[in-house]
């Protein structure tokens, strides 16, 4: 496996450049090469969504994408969504509405929810449940996740209105 590929990525606003085997999965690039451990591994089959990141505006499960497929693209993980100085409204809402327990699904869940709210800024409960169905949570039963996303949507829409 010596045929390494030249990969260029932008992760959370930072340019990265390295050589990688063609078989290297994006999740390992993030977690092991770049020490970005927010995205987690839960199933290796695209079912659980713990590894969800955003690539060029779309939610992607990074456990089943080769890093070579992401080359030249911009990747956003939970680390690029909000930090201690400025939490994203979704991060605030998950804390406020008990939208997490063990926390393992949470980075993927919030990362997916940021895209959902871009796709549908004011979703119904049904739209949230359908739009989040690619992310599995074993702890919460989803009720408070739905509530958190609804609360964040309200918050974000109010902020947008105030800005206009």
């Amino acid at each position: 496996m010596s045929n390494k590929m030249h990969i260029k990525l932008n992760v959370n606003g930072k340019d990265e450049e390295f050589l990688a085997e063609p078989r290297e999965l994006l999740i390992y690039t993030l977690r092991e090469r770049l020490n970005i451990t927010g995205p987690h591994i839960g199933c290796e089959t695209s079912h659980c969504g713990a590894c969800t990141v955003t690539i060029d505006g779309k939610s992607v499960k990074s456990c089943t994408m080769f890093v070579a497929q992401a080359s030249g693209k911009a990747v956003t993980t939970i680390e690029g969504i909000g930090g201690p100085d400025a939490l994203h409204p979704l991060q605030e809402a998950f804390k406020e509405h008990h939208g997490l327990q063990c926390g393992y699904c949470t980075p993927g869940m919030i990362t997916r929810a940021t895209k959902l709210l871009e796709e549908i800024p004011n979703p119904t409960e049904e739209e949230i449940r359908f739009g989040m169905a690619g992310n599995i949570c074993r702890c919460t039963g989803y009720q408070n996740i739905v509530k958190s996303i609804q609360a964040a949507a309200t918050e974000m829409n109010a902020a947008k209105e105030a800005a206009e």
Binding site: M1, E21, R23, E24, Y28, R31, E32, N35, T37, G38, P39, H40, I41, G42, C43, E44, T45, H47, C48, A50, T77, I78, E79, G82, G83, P84, L87, Q91, F94, K95, E96, H98, L100, Q101, C102, G103, Y104, C105, T106, P107, I110, I128, R129, F130, M132, A133, G134, N135, I136, C137, R138, C139, T140, G141, Y142, Q143, N144, I145, V146
Partner: protein, 809 residues
């Protein structure tokens, strides 16, 4: 100082103590992706280990050739049983008194069994190495059915049969057959059989509680690091019981316990999966000793579902007798328990079938008998308590199905049948026929509240109309009303009868108050999402009068935390929560002496009030706990040592018995078999409530895991012992799309023997939820002659039931 002018109400609010929905302190790091799970750990020079696993369920191994694998760039070592044998580590003790192979020793007993451990520089190199380990197998007959196992000449465990073919007794007494593990009995056999033989009405049913799996989103894993310079082993891992792991590692490795440090970092859900000791842990430790480098092992999802910690797999047969009026007179239960290739169940030593003997449920049943036969088969070992106390989900499912079956036999309403048989409030503490002493309960109040809230009579009227409409061809949807009333038995447990591998099941808390009036408390438990850092601080806040926001809770590091048996079986609040309160009371007792000294009065002349000690009758004279903490360290007080610390090891006098009343309303499309949950009402009584927000969250989650198990989740095998549900493609985990909103409610019946009256809640919704969902499905078909069908009620099985009842004709 601000708090001196606040009202008493403000001071109580500032504490954020018991009873308030305090926001979780864990969430800041988790929402920012800054949790620290075991796979996030990265050490200098760290290697990665992974297993060669058996494709066969039963086979002899004739050879293992590691030559080609060792030539793979990056592969450093390949361990087999032959390498572990000189260390005595090729087998290890299980929690159930059996032993299991760490690496296949001459044969394999289940598909996915660990055969060799490849150690490499990274996981890709390890995977390449695994591909090139050549193992030759000679297939043996496979047995996946425990009834067949008890008849078969095929010996699964040759190590447990004498050379002359004799069958030596096991850890739990005599064995009847070479594939038999134990027979365990509770209650009175002859009187129960007599009562049933002479009863006016007897209902009988056989049911299979299928094999499933806890499947936390994070799989199991560890990092072992042997520091050869200092002789110290550090083991990070997904351990629900870190101290027990330290003791087990010490016992089997010979490394002295003080030289072993076990750390459970953040754990991504446990649900029972992370209680046991697995071959991956042992192999990682050995590999670290051999290579001198840290070694990480992380299961993938298939490894997880196929090999570590199945749950359930109980074949249960029941007889329940009653008078014509519906008063239950006796209960008989027999279980054939499929334990797989090794008996690795995680139960207290004296209870090889866990607390299955809680199977008389919430009912005043005068006579009962339980017999459980454990059996070896060619399936994975485990038998863990998946989101329940030991085998309690099986017990509650059994009795809540038997009640429904009896109601059908009596042609009686199932809610009424429960009502006339509940243990009455004034009977507590109540000693059940199978031996347990229930601490407290008020079942009738909870039941009436539940039935009234859902308008039970209205639902039954609607259901009757639906049946008419269905028969008239106006609808193809049936309506089911699922009922369940459960009593849990949690908080294991009293050391006099509860131990695991000889380790008493007490738990502990150690508190240090800092001079400026904040504190750190360490416990023998470990959170896997339950929010211990939030709730245990609330218990302490109420006990010692410092704000929960000023108290750090730390768990999971055996070098710093006091010894305890960990978190599973809803034991954290009943046992470690009690230890926390008791340690807090020791702090308060010393604080009282300090306050009295500072206020220049006798010890008995001051009393505790929220966050301070006040002089009795003179509330303007007081010392706050913050002032007392400072004085404890900085003022010479005659007769008292400096400092303010306490530790408590709590041996509970009894289990706690949470209970609840659940109602599920379901519509079932008979042509597609799709169930639609219209309403789910859950009333839980977990005694004193510490944090209502967290309780509700636990209930939502437990109900969702119950929905999964009842409606589709299953570890299924084919006749060759192949696992048919080894990925999330086939193993059902509900998504937001399949899950309803739940209505939660409560009553409060404190535990009389627990220092704060709390009983534990994390597992109740799973225990009560499974029969409730199942009963709803079964109830929908009751008007058409259904008595019982086995779970999981997936779409196909529901469709099949409808078909068998002639509803498609």
């Amino acid at each position: 100082m601000k708090d001196e002018v606040d009202t008493r109400e403000d001071r109580v609010a500032n504490l954020k103590g018991m009873g308030c929905s305090r926001k979780r302190v864990e969430d800041a790091r988790f929402t920012q992706g800054k949790g620290n799970y075991v796979d996030d750990i990265k050490l200098d020079g760290m290697l990665f280990g992974d297993f060669v696993r058996s494709p066969y369920a039963h086979a002899r191994i004739t050879s293992i050739n590691t030559e080609a694998a060792l030539k793979v760039p990056g592969v450093l070592a390949v361990l087999t049983a032959a390498d572990l044998e000189p260390l005595g580590l090729h087998w290890m003790p299980t929690l159930a008194g059996d032993k299991q192979m760490v690496l296949a020793d001459g044969k394999v007993l289940f598909q996915g069994q660990e055969v060799a451990f490849v150690v490499a520089e990274d996981r890709y190199a390890a995977a390449d190495g695994i591909e090139l380990v050549e193992v030759e197998y000679e297939e043996l007959p496979v047995i996946v059915d425990p009834f067949e196992a008890l008849q078969s000449d095929v010996v699964l465990r040759e190590d447990l049969v004498g050379e002359d073919g004799s069958i030596p007794a096991g850890a739990h007494g005599p064995r009847k057959h070479h594939n038999h593990i134990f027979t365990w009995e509770a209650g009175d056999k002859a009187p129960t059989e007599e009562v049933i033989a002479n009863a006016e009405v007897v209902a009988e049913e056989s049911m299979y509680y299928h094999r499933t799996h806890p499947c936390p989103l994070e799989t199991c894993g560890c990092v072992a690091s042997m520091d050869k310079v200092n002789g110290k082993l550090t083991l990070w891992g997904t351990f629900q019981a870190p101290h027990a792991i330290r003791t087990v590692v010490s016992l089997i490795s010979g490394i002295e316990e003080h030289n072993i440090r076990v750390i459970s970092p953040d754990i991504g859900g446990g649900f029972g999966n992370k209680v046991g000791a697995y071959p991956g842990y042992v192999c990682s430790v050995v590999a670290s000793i051999v290579t001198g480098k840290p070694v990480k092992w992380i299961e993938d999802r298939m490894d997880n579902l196929m090999t570590t910690a199945f749950a359930r797999d109980y074949h249960m047969t029941g007889k329940i007798s009653a008078t014509k009026e519906g008063k239950i007179t006796g209960l008989h239960c027999h279980v054939t328990a499929d334990h797989g290739g090794f008996d690795a169940c995680a139960d207290p030593t004296k209870f090889p079938a866990g607390f299955m003997n809680i199977c008389t449920g919430s009912y005043d049943i005068p006579t009962a008998f339980l017999e459980v036969d454990g059996v070896y088969t060619n399936k994975a070992p485990g038998g863990v308590s998946y989101r329940c106390s030991f085998r309690v989900t099986e017990a509650v499912y059994f009795i809540e199905r038997m009640i429904e079956v009896l109601a059908i036999k009596l042609n009686m309403d199932a809610a009424e049948l429960r009502r006339i048989n509940f243990i009455k409030k004034e009977q507590f503490p109540y000693t059940a026929a199978l031996g347990w002493e229930y601490d407290s309960g008020d079942y009738h109040t909870a039941w009436e509240k539940a039935l009234t809230t859902v308008d039970y009579e209205g639902l039954r009227a609607e259901q009757a109309q639906r049946v008419e409409d269905f028969k008239a061809g106006k609808t193809r949807k049936l309506m089911g009303i699922g009922l369940s009333f459960f009593t849990e038995i949690v908080g294991a447990g009293p050391v006099k009868n509860c131990d695991i591998l000889g380790l008493g099941m007490f738990d502990s808390c150690e508190i240090r108050i800092h001079p400026t009036g904040s504190a750190i408390a360490r416990l023998g438990t470990i959170s896997q999402g339950q929010g211990h850092a939030t709730t245990f601080a609330q218990i302490l806040a109420s006990e010692i009068g410092l704000s929960a926001d000023s108290i750090t809770i730390e768990e999971g590091d055996t070098d710093t935390a006091p010894y305890g048996l960990g978190t599973y079986g809803s034991r954290s609040t009943p046992v470690a929560g009690a230890a926390t309160a008791m340690a807090g009371r020791k702090i308060r007792a010393k604080a009282q002496m300090i306050a009295a000294y500072l206020l220049e009065v006798h010890d008995n002349d001051v009393e505790f009030d929220v966050d301070r000690f006040v002089v009795k009758g003179a509330p303007e004279k007081f010392k706050t706990m913050k002032e007392i903490a400072f004085a404890a360290y900085n003022q010479a007080i005659p007769g008292l040592e400096p400092g303010l610390e306490a530790v408590s090891y709590y041996d509970p006098p009894n289990m706690t018995y949470p209970f609840g009343a659940y109602v599920c309303v379901m519509d079932i499309d008979v042509d597609t078999g799709v169930p639609e949950i219209r309403r789910f009402y859950a009333l839980d009584d977990c005694g004193t409530r510490i944090n209502p927000m967290i309780i509700e969250g636990q209930v939502h989650g437990g109900l969702t895991e119950a929905l999964a198990v009842a409606l589709g989740q299953e570890i299924a095998y084919d006749d060759m012992g192949n696992v048919k549900t080894g990925t999330l493609m086939d193993f059902f985990l509900p998504t937001a799309w399949e899950v309803p909103n739940y209505e939660t409610d409560f009553t409060v019946t404190p535990s009389p023997h627990h220092p704060i009256g709390a009983k534990g809640v994390g597992e109740s919704p799973h225990v009560g939820g499974v029969p409730c969902f199942s009963n709803a499905v079964q109830d929908a078909f009751r008007p058409f002659g259904n008595t019982h069908t086995n779970m999981p009620h997936d779409h196909w099985r529901i469709w099949r039931t409808a078909n068998e009842l002639g509803l498609h004709d």
